[in-house]
Point group: C2
Chain length 348, copies 2
């Protein structure tokens, strides 16, 4: 029997907690603490201390569209604060309307992924940022010099780079741009109800979220979606039990990591997605082929685990997933004022 109180005729009657259920709840918490980890308190660092000036410079650069070919695409174009660090598109759109091959993963908590991008071909958020600076779709700039040239033309950045990289001789480099953006991204951490729960507060998860967590573990979701990111920590084939594309309705088949490694064993292998804030980041999967979270949950159970979920199971698992939504960090929701200057395509 659940912990419940009833006011009857002015008399407060308290029912006790059923001992068997309380033991189940305690066991669930212990199990969850073995599978998941709470988010770090503060920044996701790799040992190097992050100075405030570097994080703040990274924040400016993240929101600055003037480094890219036409001056109209920034990191925040595909990773919008309003959409929890995504863009709401099946696949993102880059400079000059060039299509990105995959769905934009959220930048929130991305620093905690063991590697980045769907095909795990980015080592870290810094590596991702540095490659994006001259990537044909994200940036369209021919080389790093062209990127740095743009920043040199914006009065105000020189001083900020000096403060962010004290003692260095050439501060305004592509490498440092990426290090600063990475430092900023390491600050974008979103603690949620799950974290409070993992720290010992059982009531941080509702009863249905706890039932969903039980199912999430029991049917095997947590085999891959585990650790601090509830995912983001390993590779896995999409479509273990049956081909994904017939179920997702994908218009084209993505070979996944096999295209990077040229190893047939990596066919349809992707990085397991972190499920943090998944409620806020539709559409789903590497190709954004599925519109809603309940549908995505059913498909994953089916093609990865061979499990058919009924409506009640699905909505409990969704209740658990909704407990992974954290608040937008203030330094992401509030955008910075950029040093003013017009740069980019001259089309007057």
């Amino acid at each position: 029997m659940a912990d419940m109180r009833a006011v009857a005729g002015g008399i407060l009657v308290t029912f006790g907690i059923c001992p068997a259920l309380a033991a189940d709840d305690a066991a669930l918490l212990t199990e969850a603490q073995e599978i998941f980890r709470p988010l770090p308190n503060g920044m996701a660092t790799t040992g190097t201390p992050l100075i405030t000036e570097r994080v703040e410079l990274g924040r400016l650069l993240f929101f600055d569209p003037r480094m890219t070919a036409d001056g109209n695409v920034s990191c925040a174009t595909c990773h919008q604060p309003s959409l929890y660090g995504t863009d709401g598109l099946a696949k993102s759109i880059g400079v000059r309307q060039r299509p990105h091959p995959r769905n934009a993963p959220s930048v929130l908590n991305a620093a905690l992924n063991f590697v980045n991008h769907w095909r795990v071909d980015r080592e870290s958020v810094e590596d991702q940022a540095e490659q994006a600076l001259t990537a044909p779709i994200s940036s369209g700039q021919p080389d790093e010099r062209a990127v740095v040239d743009r920043l040199e033309r914006i009065q105000g950045y020189a001083r900020l780079f000096e403060a962010a990289f004290p003692g260095e001789r050439n501060q305004m480099t592509a490498k440092n741009i990426a290090v600063a953006i990475g430092a900023y991204e390491r600050s974008l951490i979103t603690p949620s109800a799950l974290d409070a729960y993992l720290l010992g507060d059982q009531n941080a998860l509702s009863r249905s979220a706890r039932a969903g967590l039980r199912k999430f573990i029991d049917i095997g979701c947590s085999t891959c979606h585990r650790g601090v990111g509830v995912g983001g920590g390993m590779y896995q084939k999409f479509g273990v039990v049956e081909d994904y594309s017939a179920v997702t309705g994908s218009l084209s088949i993505d070979k996944g990591r096999a295209e990077v490694t040229k190893d047939p064993a990596d066919l349809y292998v992707f990085r397991v997605a972190s499920l943090r804030n998944v409620e806020m980041t539709a559409p789903y999967f590497h190709d954004g082929s599925v519109a809603t979270l309940p549908e995505a949950v059913r498909i994953m159970a089916r093609v990865q685990l061979g499990v058919t979920l009924n409506d009640a199971d699905t909505s409990e698992i969704v209740a658990f997933l909704n407990a992974l939504t954290g608040q937008l960090p203030a330094e992401f929701a509030t955008v910075p004022v950029l040093p003013p200057a017009g740069v980019g395509a001259r089309t007057n």
Copy 2:
């Protein structure tokens, strides 16, 4: 002699304010109060009261890219908070990389312009928003129905429209989208040092800013750049004394309002730009042909007034213009969390 204090040998000596200069300062303030008006305290309304729910809905819609053809252009694409409601480009880039014909004016204080757009073919911020919803460059949507369809597919908006337009039968219409966005834009007001000055605080403007104001009036800038927006209140030909294009280096010649009215008298006629926050909104002019504010000031003096400004004159006028920079409104700098849902081009 200026109001100054010197500490000499521990003795504080205060020089008095020269009476003639004090009289000049008082006269300048009186003159300025006749030419300009301080910003309204709060919202720029047109009589209709603005309910909070409508302003907040407009804020969501302003930042939502999912209404446009490919789902990747919002009002905030050309009117970015980080760049003071502009995009830093000579001319903006719309959906599918379509080029806008003119430079994006800031959305800050735009509700106070007597009409909107460079060619004054938008009656109000609401009219601008409504036309933009289906404009081929801003939106690319074929009709209003297509815009509303997108919003209907995002769970969460229906409730917000009900709250914003209580008692109406069909709340989710293109008209109401525009009314809500307009209501939000009417809240984007940026009081500055000039406003404090106009309200009687002479020291709100530095001595050089006041010298710049004196020149701004004396050489004739304030003939057109006047009123609450320091501009934004009338039409004027660009290039009264000599053709603008030879001086700005414009790559193409914009005929201005003549293209709208078909009247040869309107050749090269544009809406006079509001100079509020002009420090933060490079590049300058209807075609973004000029990169810096000092250069823009010199050009305007030359082609509009036949005046050649020296460096000292120019920097004093720039000091005055810098006093027109206000703080970013919190409801603009802090972006809202949008109701989650993936919509737009299906490209999976």
